[in-house]
Every structure is written in structure tokens, then in C-alpha cells.
């Protein structure tokens, strides 16, 4: 059963991911990425990582909606009616992409995972959340805090880059 769901959602994620670069409508492209990520969230649920799955589903919906508006802003033909080709070095990319898939899959297939495998049963979902909380605010506190600081830094940097320099300042500098 679990195998079926993993396969199903994995396939859905891949199909939507392919759709991202196949459609020329920006809105569809962003939504395809969104549903690809949603399928991944469902895949996490199938892998019994309930918290991560739900979090993924929630975060990606907002994130990809923001993506959508930027795509529409920055593309020449967001409706995708011009039939414009927006890609280059297709051959190389295709080869690189396929090569990467082969290589990574081969590594995955030939590694002897048995030697590493430990538990086969994950804890119940509410147990997991409790453990994750203790992990975050205990042993991995530093990492967690670093992530927070990084977010703060990124917020400030992003705002600084994105806002327009007022006209008088600009002339002052030049």
C-alpha cells in the first residue's frame, strides 16, 4: 500500500514538474510547480512524515502563488499565446538532465542500503511532532537559531535590494 502511494505521488510530482517547462503560459507553469510540490507533500504523508508533509503543502501554496505574480510580471508573454521559445542550449540541458537522473538513480540502486537501515517503523505522528520539537529546541537549537538569523538577514537584504532608491539619494551618489 505504501509502495503504491509513494509511486503514485512520486509520479504525479514528476509529471507536474515536467509540465512546468512544457507549458508556455506562466500561470500554468507556476501552478504546475505548485501541484508538483503538493504531490511531494502528499508523498511525505505517505512516508509517514505527517508534520513535514502538511508543512510542505501549506508553505508551497503561498510560495508558488508569489512565484506566479513575479512570473507574470517578468515574462514577455505571460499568457503564453505568442508561442515564444524561451529556452536555449536545449540539447545540452537535456543531456545534462538525463545524465543526472541516470547517475543519481544508479547510485541509489547500487548502494547497499540494507547495511544502513535501522528501524522499519516510524513513531506515531504526535510522537514525531513532540520529538521534532525537542530536537529543534534542544540539540539542534543552534542550527535552528541560525536559520532564524539567516531569514532575518535575507529579509533585510532583500528589502534593501528591491526597494527603489529615492531620486535625491541616487543623484547624490553619482
Amino acid at each position: 500500500m505504501q509502495t503504491f502511494f509513494i509511486g503514485f505521488f512520486g509520479l504525479a510530482a514528476i509529471v507536474f514538474a515536467v509540465a512546468v517547462f512544457r507549458t508556455s503560459s506562466m500561470m500554468r507553469s507556476a501552478l504546475a510547480l505548485l501541484f508538483s510540490q503538493t504531490a511531494l507533500g502528499a508523498l511525505f504523508l505517505a512516508l509517514q512524515a505527517e508534520f513535514l508533509g502538511v508543512l510542505q503543502i501549506m508553505m508551497m501554496a503561498t510560495e508558488m502563488s508569489i512565484m506566479a505574480i513575479f512570473m507574470v510580471m517578468f515574462m514577455m508573454d505571460p499568457g503564453g499565446l505568442g508561442g515564444m521559445d524561451m529556452s536555449h542550449q536545449k540539447r545540452l540541458s537535456m543531456i545534462a538532465g538525463l545524465g543526472a537522473v541516470m547517475l543519481v538513480s544508479a547510485i541509489a540502486a547500487y548502494t547497499r542500503w540494507q547495511e544502513l537501515a535501522s528501524l522499519s517503523q516510524a513513531a506515531a505522528a504526535d510522537e514525531q511532532i513532540r520529538h521534532l520539537g525537542r530536537e529543534l529546541l534542544g540539540r539542534s537549537m543552534l542550527v535552528f537559531e541560525t536559520a532564524g538569523i539567516t531569514i532575518l538577514t535575507a529579509m533585510i537584504a532583500t528589502t534593501a535590494v528591491a526597494v527603489k532608491v529615492p531620486a535625491e539619494n541616487a543623484s547624490h551618489e553619482s
Partner: protein, 103 residues
């Protein structure tokens, strides 16, 4: 050999490949970022799968996933800020028109 693990890893590999294709082939910065998102998504799948099948008792694995999600969000925010600044300055976020960035 656990077939579920392999299945999840192949999914991750496929997403990585598609993302790589996108990053290399797209000319628009925003589309390029979609590729990066997919590559990171591939990494996410692997992390969750490793946690589930190899270290189901160690929650550092789950924490890693959270960090990657943070990175995805940050990557997007910073990427869009750069795109915005560039669009304002040059009127374009096309890669082909960013030749001057070549060293």
C-alpha cells in the same frame, strides 16, 4: 533492498534531473528559479526518505528538511529581489541579455 526507498530516491533523482534541465535551458531568471526549486525539492524527497527508512528515530533528519524548506523560501525571496532590481535597471531578466555579467 527496500523498494519504497528506491522508489522515493528515483523520484528525487527525476526531480533533480528535471530541475537541472530547467536551470540550464531556460532563458528567464524566474523560470530558472523554478528549476532551482525543483532541484531542492529533489533533495527534500531524499532527506525524508532517508529519515523514514534509515533513521526513523533520529529527528535531526526531519530538522534538515525544515532547513531545506527555509532555504527554498530564501532562495526565492533573494532571487526575486535581484530580478526586481535588474528589471528596474535594464528592463529585462533574460539570461541572454546579461552578457555583461560574464567575467
Amino acid at each position: 533492498m527496500n523498494p519504497d526507498l528506491l522508489l522515493a530516491l528515483i523520484t528525487g533523482a527525476a526531480l533533480f534531473g528535471i530541475g537541472l534541465y530547467g536551470v540550464l535551458s531556460q532563458t528567464n531568471l524566474v523560470m530558472l528559479m523554478m528549476g532551482i526549486e525543483l532541484i531542492l525539492a529533489g533533495a527534500l524527497v531524499n532527506l525524508v526518505a532517508f529519515w523514514r527508512f534509515l533513521h526513523a528515530d533520529s529527528y535531526a533528519g526531519q530538522m534538515f528538511v525544515l532547513i531545506v524548506m527555509t532555504v527554498m523560501a530564501l532562495e526565492m525571496a533573494v532571487g526575486f529581489a535581484v530580478a526586481l532590481a535588474r528589471f528596474r535597471a535594464r528592463g529585462s531578466v533574460e539570461m541572454e541579455e546579461a552578457q555583461e555579467l560574464k567575467g
